[in-house]
Every structure is written in C-alpha cells, then in structure tokens.
Symmetry: D2
Subunit: 357 residues, 4 copies
C-alpha cells in the first residue's frame, strides 16, 4: 500500500522507545512494578500533571478505560458516556465485565461530545429509586471517537454537572497528546484543573508499542468527598484480578519513560495533527467531498463519492469505510504519516474528482 | 545483590528477543493480530505441536490461564485444580472473575500434583444436583507450584479421569519449556497426546518480556464431544472483553517468534534447569539443609536454618522466604543465572554451615 | 384512598388463590419442586400451550425475565429489547447481573414495540467483529411498558427477523393474560406459533401473590438449531444460583394451579381490561385530557392538566405522575378494580374540567 | 410414608401463618415493601433484638445469605466460612455470583464450627499482597450444617478474631430459632452482643412457607469503623438487582409477623428440638448405632448399619442417606414432627437391631 490512514495503531514505535525497550530487557529487575523505572514513571507523570498522582501501567487502552471505571461504580451504578464513545462502541462488553455488570448509558451530544443538559437530566433522574441503576460516574473521550476535541470550557461544563451530582469523571485519553496539542494547554489544565479525576493516558497510538497509564488525581476526588485511597486500592487489586499486572513491568515503564522524555509525545502528536490539518485542508476544496466533523486532532470522518473511495483503495491507499453511513470514511494520521503520503492522497482524490466531473 | 534466585521473572529478555522487538517496531502493520507475524506464530506453534491449533497471544500468564478456563466452564461449574496451584494461590480472584463466578476447587495430591483418586471423587459427586456446582474442567500446572514435574504417566492418569467424566483439561505451562526439558519428550507428547486440550504456553519467564500463547488443540476436544470452534470463538471474544487484545499485536508475536527460533526456548530452559540441578546437588550435602520437594526443573523449595537464611541475605543473595513454614525458602533459576552465582551461593551456605557446627 | 390506579401489583390475591395457599401449607411435601403440585403446573401449562414445555417457577417477574435471558446469551452478547422496556427501565442492573455482563441494547419503535427494521439493522451490524458485542437474543414485552399490545403480525415481524439471524426470542409476559384477552387468540398463537421461544408467564399482577412461570418451548428453539436441553439445564442451575429455587415450592405451584383453574386468569384479565376500556372511553371526551398511547389492555398513559392531577389526588385517587413528561400520568386497572371506582374517577375528572373551563 | 425426617423444609406452615397470608391477600397495599406490614416487621425485629436494625425480607435462605455477604466484600475479597458450611456445600455458586466473583475460603474446625486459630491464620496471611484475595468477611452458621450449635463463647472467639482484623461477621441463621432455644439466651446475646453484624434470620424451616429476614445491626458495624448506611444501601439495590424485591411484599411480611407473634417461632423450635432430643436419646442405646455429631438442635448425623437403613426405609420412614460416608444418615425434626413418629422410628430401629444380633 502507498500510505495507510487506517488507524494510528498501525504505526510501530518511535526509535527512542524501542531503544528503551532494549535497555529495559537487560539484567535483573524486581517484578510487578517494584522496580526503579516504574517508580520513575510515577515521578514523571506527577511532574507533568503538576500534582500528586497514582499511576497504574497497563498494556491496552481498553484495560486502562475499563479498570479506571471499575474503581468508580458499584455494580448497580450507571456510567454516563457519549452514545458514540469508544466505551460503548468498540470495547465489546469489557465495560460491563470490569464494572461487575453496571450499565453504560449513552448520552446525546453534538460531535460525540456529551451535552451537559442531557447529562444533567441523566444524573438527576430516579435517584434513590431501587428499580433504576444509579448514576455513579461520567466518562468523556478526549479526542472523541469522531475526531473532535472538547475545549476546556466544554470539559468544565460536563465536570461541573458531575461535581454537582457528586460523581467522579474519567477521561479516555487514548489520544491525549493529540488533544493537548490541539488545545495548546497544559496537561493539568485539561484534566484535574478542569474537574477530571482519573485519566487513561494513552501512549500506544502515539509512539509506543503497548503502554498506557491510568493516572489518578487526588485533589478533585477529595473535593467531591470521594476517597483517593480507596480508588487507588481498588485499582491495585483489580489490575491484578484482570490479569493486567505485568511481571516484567519495566517493559511498560521503559516505553512510557521514553515517550515522556524530550517531549517525544508532544512532537509525535504535533506531527500527526499537522498531517491531518494538511489532509483536511486539501480535501475540503475537492468537489463531492464532505467533511462530516471537522478534525481537531488526527482523525477525520468525511463522506466521499463511492467511486472515489473505490479509486483510492485501488490506488493502494488504506482506510476504513463501509462501516458507517454510505460513503463515510475515516482517515487517521499518526506520528509516522509522511507528508508525501498525504499529498499523494489529496492529489489522487482531486484528479479523480476532476476526471469524473 | 550478588545473584538473585527470587524468581525467573526478574530476568530480562534474550538478545534475539529484543532484536525482534526492534524489527517489529518498524513500519506499519495491521492491528489486532491481523498481521503477518501473528499468522506466523500460529504456523510455528502448529508445527511445534504437530497438529492443528488455534493460538491467542496475551501479555501475562494470569490472562492466559484465566481466559483459557473461562472458555471451558459455565458460571455454575467448578474447575478442579491442585489446592496449591498458582490459580488458587497467586492470581487473586482473576479465576472467578473470568469464569463468571464459577468455583475453583482445590484437589489434594503429593508435590502439588493432582491425585487422580481425589479427582475421581470430585468429578463424580453430586452430578446433576442443582445445589452443587458441577465439575466443568480440570487444570494442572506443569511445572507445578513447588517445582515438581508431572511425568507423562501422571498427566495421563489425570486426563483419563477427566476424559471419563467428559471434562476438558487445561495445562498451566508458565514453565512449559522447563518441564519439557526435564521430561525429554516432545511438546505433543506432553500435551494433546497425553489428553490435554488447551495450554497456557508461557514464554515470559524464559526469555521474553511479555508474551504468552493460549494454544487450543482440536483433536482431544472433539474426542470428548466438545466443540473446538466454540472454544475458539469464546476465546476470541473473551480476550477482547478482558482488555487483552493488543492493537500492536506484533509486539507479542515478534517475541514469540524469536523465542521459538533456533530452539532458543529449549536452550534457555536447559540452562535454567541445569543451574537448578547444580544448585540442588550442592545444597543437598550441606548439614542443616533440607530439600522439601526435589526440584525437577528450575525451582526448589528447601528448608534452611534461620541464621543461614539471614547470612545469605546479608551476603547479597536474593530469594524469597518468610512466606511459608518457618525456614522454608524458594530458589528459582533462569536462563540468565550464572554458574558462578550458583557456586557462590553453595559456597556461602556451606561455609556458614561449617562455621556454625 | 377512594380507588387506586397506581399499579396492578397493589391488589391482593383472588380468593381461590389464597384458598390454594392454605391447602398447600398443610402436611409434608418434598422440597425444591419435587412435589406433585409442581409437576401438575408443568402439565397444566403444557396443555395450555398445546406443546412440550419446561417450566421454572419463581417468585418475581424480574427473576423470570433475567433468568430467561441469562440462558440465551453469552457474556459478550447483546440482548435487543425496546429502549422503553421494563428490562431497560425498571429492573436496575438485574439484566446485566444475570447475563454475566452482557449488554442490553435499546431498539426504537412506536408505542414501545420493537420496529422490525431497526431490529434488522441491529442484528446484522458488526457480526463477527470482536470489538463489538454480538446479538444473542431478542426480548419483547406483551403488554408493553406503555400499555400497547403487539398484534400477532407484529410479533411475527419481530420473530422472523430474529429467526433469520438465528436468535432466540423471549417474551416478557408480566401481563400475558391481559394481552391475550386483548388479542382474543390462544396462548400458543401468541407465543411459539408466532416464533417465541421462552416466556415469562406472569401471574402476580393478575391474581396471585407471588408466582411467575418461565415457560420454555422446545419446537421453536430446535427449529433454529438451538438446544432445548441446554437452555433447560442452564435454567435449572441458574435458578438455584440466583437464590430463586424455593424449598417449599408448593407455595408457588399452588398459586399457579389456582390461577389456571376454571379460567381464573382469563376472567381476572378480562375484568381489568374492561375496566380500562371503560376508563379510557370516559376520559377520551374530557376536554384537556390527551390519550398518549391508546390502552389495549389494562394500562394507560395519558396527559392531564396539572390542576386536574392535583384535584384528583386531593380527592383520594391514587396514580403515578411526575415521573415522565409534564402532565403525564399512568393509570392501571386490575382484577379488583371496581366499576364504581372507575366511574367516580371519570366523574371527578369531568366535573373538574367543566368547572375550570 | 410413616414419618419423614428428610428435612425441616418438607413441613408446611403453622396455622397462624397461613391465616396471616389470607388476611394479607385482601385489599390493596403499596408494593415493594412500602406497606404497613413491612414496617411492622422491622419494628418487631428491632424490639426482638433490642437495638436499631434494618431489615430486608426475601423468600429464600440462599438469597438471604448471599445478599448479606454481597454487601460486605469487594470482588477481590475472600469470605471465610467453614469448609462444610451451607454456603460452600449447598448453594451452587450463588455465593460467588452475588459477591461478584469473590472467593469463599473453607476454614477448618470440629463439628462444622470455625476454629478461631485457623481463622486467625487466614485473616493475617498475605494482607496487602495484590496476588492474593484479601479477607473481607467471616460467615458462621448457627445451627451448623452438621447439627451442632456454637456456644456464646465460641461465637465470641470467632468474632473477636474478625474484629481484630476489622472484618464484619455474618450469621447464617437458617435455623436461628433452633439454636436460640438450644442455648437458652436472648436474640441479642446470640448476635450483636456477641459481635455479629448481620444475620440471615430464617423462618421458612420453622413454620412459614417462604420468608427470611436479613437483619443488619448498626452498633457492631460502626464499632469496627464500617458504615451501616453503606451496607444498608448496598442491600437495598442488590436485593432488587438479584430479582428478590417482591412487589407484593406483604406476602413475606405477613408470614414473618405471624411467626414472631405469641412466640410461635420459639414454640415451634422448642418442639423440633425436643423431638430431636427424644430421638437421639432413643437411638443412642441401640446397638450398632453411632452418633456422629451430638445433635444440639433439630438435626442429627449418625451412622447406622446398612441393613437397618434399608429396613427403616422399607418401613416407610423417610430420611437422607447415601450422600456421605457409608452408613451416614441425616435425621431432621421440625415443628410438625409427631412424637408418635419418633417413637415408631426408635422402635423400628431397636427391634431390627435386636432381631439381627
């Protein structure tokens, strides 16, 4: 294939990441996270987020999300997330499994962002009614599943509804870096300062092979009267119980350290976002192409004429289509997407459009 | 520390393994196991086991064990395993979690091996009685949790009871290679030819960083009238549901391929076993030292005088004690254990013993 | 209160039912359903449904529903039911609990009936995709949660989509008798002859104190290639596992026998339906009253002016309001609703309306 | 049959109980426990236990036990109960189901009573170790599964170990009244004054058809720093989630009220215990009969010569045998066991023994 816009999980790792894996593979180290590199990860993330945090490394984004939430809800609770969220659309029944059979309720909202008004209704209905599951947590995705990004105001609008109701807020940050670069703010601003209690801090889609950090913030939890210590304890035992406690934890830690070193994570995300901006700019002016949700990070949903899709596929460009409404395709750029590849894609689409007019 | 006998999970990876990781980190590849290297793993394991297999790669031994079993039991079933097995002793409640609340019943037997007579009683009691959980699967550990190894006859004695009762058999092979080298037989002989239906084929303790393969055998399952296709389907969905489906699966595949190439896995296990044999030989003759279970692979439980334990720890030797009966310590060798380290340990123990007589 | 339209579960039991309880309370009988009266229930229901059935008695409608479904779906499955169904709205997370964390997906449709077109979409999407839960069963409510009744054609439209997809169909028949009387057909016609595989045959809302039967039909299951024996086995063990196997089962059996004897169940339902028809007829012509969903059985959702609601409450009439859109109230009649009570309600509403014009 | 010693669950209900059911079946009442009779049950049990309690009525003993425990343990916890307890022997996997996959660990001890020394070991091992499930609750049975009764001192020996470890204690009181009569103490003395936090207060085996009360005590929970309010909240939601919230709750309440009125419960238990004492006394002196565990309440395990068992069965006496060691039978008396039946049994056994010498 010429260039693939299938997903950001098709790219391998940044060089410094696999160099770190090599180093981590040498010599002895205590297992299960009782090694120095794992302690260093916590230290680095505490600095990054400018506050006290507890960190739990796991190897998949699904594990990070569902473990986080499992520590926040009783089995008779409901977790409120957008109806198009990854949690509800792409993780099979992992959410219900980890949350002990709690319910995941899809909330409405434009561009896959939770509408605070809908949320308000959801968190105030049937409270105390034993016949109804009880709102227990809120989860937002940053970047969202359609490529949009919550502004800080939008995050706060959601978290303030949650706070009013005494509910903790989880952020699915599988594309955390891409969102951060898009907003141009600090990690603290996008999370705990905006009312987020726990984050799935993703790295796998942006330069590592398999390393995700669950980051728990003390301050916002305790402001709501929730116990930081209890959440941390739940996560420690539930990670093991889920089979997600790596014996050679340094494999995960080493990747995360390299990812955070010398701003690799921001550099990678900036590149991916820039490539998407370039791609979107090029596509916008092509007749017959419709931008469904303006890409604010590194993912775009747009609608193409069916013959154009076929043509692009036949030219060797890879991307997903056929899963959504007719003609809808998803294009994702990564830290490794070459500018020439983007140019080639735009060129191919444009010339096809011109030929068929 | 001078040398550590803490566990085989403290050693890093063999060189060819991390070289393979580097290669795997380059370029694009389809996610979730739809890449060429993952297909190659299945091919290689099929050759290794000389039969049709389905393979599911995961990153921890706990995940391999509990996912395997989750495909074999209904939630009202019981899984029969040795009362000192890893499943019952060291995986928190991961077994119950994945098996939907099934029960894990500890069976008696010498040297942490299931006694076929006890098993027979367990699989014939209260069958059809709704007040009692119903035997659904048997799980054995090879190497066992105390360092012993089932002979082929011993495996068959267990699996024939299971077969009589129509129950599938799982083998926890976290130290599969060490057991195989100890027995000097083929992988097929130690598994499906001996009546085993599904294996957790461990690699993490013997040269990789994080790669374990669930291997499902078609023939023995179907001989019992159980559906291979159903087990495979359950595993596919349950792996995702458990958060254990890696997007960049090639990270796991690459390690497994390197592990199986040029007999690395056997070479590594042979070294670990040889070091243990040497260590055991040396300890046997030291006054005050008692071998609790003769090591047949790379793990030894023995009882040392308490002052000797303190002395060895103070000399910088690392190993676990204080968790079992007074004076009981566990010594584990790995593919990286240096012969000089073993000699030094024996020497230290022996001179201490001589001094204190 | 003058008369209560709160729910049909506020009424006690028919006289022959509690006479039967007295008789059942005498003497010894084998426990756990191994008594003669329980066998008789199966016999009677087999006759009633004109086919081979297996029956499991339980004491609540929630138990009947969620146990039924638990036997039909794997934990990675999805159960398709109307988004306003009792399962999704009024049973807390009992559905997820019993189904081992499977997902309950709300389907659209007018009058709380599943739209077959929506269903078709739902059962054909993402089949085989491990990232998505897999359609495993369909559940319909007859009477629905808003008081409408599926016609036989409407049932078949749903079940034929299910059959095409190989999925079993459950019917929540908490108000089975009311629906049957409304349709004027036979129990067989409304269930297995229309493609339904398993029914929660409710009696508690229509004359008993606590007795519900899960009725499993052999023929439709086997026509889909599903195993009747497996479903029956699952139910036997899961009923015990859920704590729903009564030791003195005859308490449940006796009620069910009385319920089915001399057409008590049909007589009771006919009365309840007739009272609702009378009530609806009376309300229809009152200015300011809006019928939201025409009542086809014994439950009506209508919208009243707020002052009228207050007035009726102050006059001592009991009914639920304040839970739905503004002004929406629910009125339910039962086998014990007196005609004078209905007349009084209509009169009170009408005179209030006239006074306030 | 002449007379049955099969179980106390084969007897029907006391007359005042079914009279109460008739009364409860009349008229309207608010559902789900919002009726007057349910409030009265709480009031009566509060008086009975001389303290503040919360009460949850359910219809089976299994439900009472497993719901109680589900409110006390996280899913990664272990519940410590005797290895021969009903929880581990006769409730299928209901315990694991309700406790979200927690583990039930069998503790040793004579006469099916937990040995405090064994318990102490169990509650202090591997605390804080993520690889091991963490002790979360203790459950004792009073009467035990073999017919013995904990003395107050024995209860306190268990509860003081639990209190030291900060663990709540559940009492399975399926035969609460029989134990109480045996000890001759007050309900308060046998429960919260002895350190018990929550009781399954059984009535079904002793005069009702189906009514069991979960009784939660405030004081002992709070003395351990555990939250009474949280336990109560969990129970409210979990009862509904388990399908155990009866709509016509008055059916359960009415039985319980009658049971507690005019000391019916004590009268019934006294009769059952007296019949057992008489039976045991008679059997003791018969050659070939061995009392295995001296009956302290209404259940006896003894060993009879096999021909004697056959003879008694052929004479029409009903009782369980063939489930335990050879010759072991279980004899249970109830509130309805006639003295002539006991005499006849003794006589038949004795004459058989004399004939065969």
């Amino acid at each position: 294939m010429k260039v693939a816009f299938t997903s950001d999980n098709i790219a391998g790792a940044s060089e410094s990441v696999f160099q770190a894996i090599i180093e981590a593979s040498q010599g002895d180290a205590m297992p299960y996270g009782n090694d120095e590199s794992t302690a260093l990860v916590t230290h680095k993330l505490s600095e990054l987020f400018e506050c006290e945090v507890e960190v739990f490394l796991v190897s998949t984004g699904t594990a990070a999300n569902v473990l986080s939430i499992s520590a926040l809800t009783p089995p008779w609770g409901s977790v409120l997330c957008h109806k198009e969220s990854h949690l509800l659309q792409d993780e099979n029944t992992a959410p219900e499994f980890y949350a002990g059979g709690a319910r995941f309720v899809g909330i409405e909202g434009e561009n896959a962002k939770i509408d605070p008004e809908w949320l308000k209704k959801a968190v105030t209905q049937k409270i105390g009614d034993v016949h109804s599951c009880q709102p227990a947590a809120v989860s937002i995705s940053q970047v969202t599943e359609v490529g949009s990004v919550y502004s800080l105001e939008e995050i706060r609008a959601v978290t303030s509804v949650a706070k009013e109701a005494g509910l903790p807020v989880h952020m699915d940050g599988a594309r955390f870096a891409n969102a951060l670069v898009s907003l141009g703010c600090t990690p603290a601003q996008m999370t705990w300062k905006a009312g987020v209690d726990i984050v799935s801090f993703g790295a796998t889609k942006n330069g590592t092979m398999a390393s995700e950090a669950i980051v728990v913030f003390k301050q916002p939890l305790e402001e709501k009267g929730l116990s930081f210590d209890r959440v941390v304890k739940e996560l420690a035992f539930r990670r093991k119980r889920g089979g997600h406690l790596h014996s050679k934890m340094r494999l995960l830690s080493a990747q995360m350290i390299a990812y955070l070193t010398d701003d690799l994570w921001l550099t990678n995300a900036s590149h991916a976002n820039a490539m998407m901006a370039h791609l979107q700019e090029g596509l916008k002016s092509i007749p017959g192409v419709k931008i469904n949700t303006p890409a604010q990070a590194n993912m775009l949903f747009c609608t193409l004429p069916l013959p154009m899709i076929d043509h692009l596929h036949s030219e060797g460009f890879a991307f997903y289509g056929g899963r959504w409404e007719e003609g809808v395709v998803r294009l994702v750029t990564s830290f490794r997407t070459p500018k020439e590849g983007v140019d080639a894609f735009i060129h191919a689409a444009k010339s096809f459009a011109e030929r068929t007019v």
